[in-house]
């Protein structure tokens, strides 16, 4: 059973981590489109897959976030990756199955998964 008391332990754990970590300018932000078009196309399970991957791999400087409709409804679910010092990468028609590859190749190893990007489709 989860209880509010667990939160104190989580707080303690992250507090120690934050103190160990040097300045966190190198955060990576994973932004999922959460307007009606995105939600209807499956944005929530995509975000869930990112949360689970981040947890499994213990990635402490990677965060999920959301945005609205970017006007590309037919390409939803859309995921944008903002890594420090790099250009934004836009992945389209993302599914939970694609998430593992995006995390292992791009988020962890810095290698963009070109075949899933908007550039690959618009060519």
């Amino acid at each position: 059973m989860k209880s509010l008391a667990d939160l104190e332990a989580i707080r303690q754990k992250t507090f120690n981590k934050v103190n160990l970590r040097n300045e966190s300018k190198d955060d990576t932000r994973i932004v999922v489109g959460m307007a009606t078009c995105g939600i209807a196309a499956g944005a929530r399970p995509v975000m869930q897959a990112f949360v689970e991957e981040i947890n499994k791999r213990n990635l402490s400087d990677v965060y999920v976030s959301q945005t609205g409709c970017v006007g590309l409804c037919k390409y939803e679910p859309i995921v944008e990756v903002y890594a420090a010092g790099k250009e934004k990468v836009t992945y389209i028609k993302v599914s939970p199955e694609k998430v593992a590859k995006i995390v292992s190749e791009h988020i962890v190893n810095g290698k963009v998964v070109d075949e899933y990007t908007i550039g690959a489709v618009e060519k």
Partner: protein, 180 residues
């Protein structure tokens, strides 16, 4: 949408877009009345009476990226197909309350689905907004309030991966406890 919890997420996103600072979501299952109701209330910027009249029409939107708004008209359609209805009360500068009702055992009523994932998306992606989730099952009640949680977490943010999974588990267990 396959789950009502996805509609809840979608309607709550309207509250975020309206700059709400507190969003309260309440799901009530009443088996004596054979009723399911979903209420989403915010303290955002609200709508005036004229706009509110149009809002269940898919062509009314204030969004700029496309011409049609779908969220509210979609939920209205689902509610009506399940022998229920959709009602919106709104006041400029005060906030908005959206209430959808459904015949609980109607064959066309979608399942509620994963409320815990919906709430976790909302709380982890909108750090400056507070959320209340209440689930009422006949005379039993479960309540989740981020203001309480943030008091304990202090500087640890709600988008911390451990916190996100805790939120999901906590809500899932909380609902299971009162409904089983």
């Amino acid at each position: 949408m396959k789950e009502l919890s996805l509609n809840i997420l979608d309607i709550a996103e309207n509250s975020i877009a309206a700059n709400a600072s507190l969003v309260s979501i309440c799901v009530t299952q009443d088996s004596h009345e054979n009723l399911l109701s979903i209420v989403i209330a915010d303290d955002g910027k609200g709508m005036d009476a004229d706009f509110l009249k149009m809002v269940t029409d898919p062509f009314s939107t204030t969004r700029k990226t496309r011409k049609v708004g779908m969220g509210i008209s979609l939920l209205k359609l689902i509610a009506e197909q399940s022998n229920g209805n959709l009602e919106i009360i709104s006041e400029v500068g005060k906030g908005t309350t959206v209430k959808a009702t459904f015949q609980y055992d109607h064959i066309d009523r979608p399942p509620l689905g994963s409320v815990e994932q919906t709430i976790s998306v909302l709380v982890s992606c909108n750090l400056n907004v507070d959320f209340i989730y209440e689930h009422i099952f006949n005379d039993k009640r479960f309540k989740f309030d981020t203001r309480e949680i943030k008091k304990i977490l202090k500087e640890t943010p709600m988008n911390n991966p451990d916190v996100i999974l805790w939120v999901q588990e906590y809500i899932k267990e909380g609902i299971a406890n009162i409904t089983s």
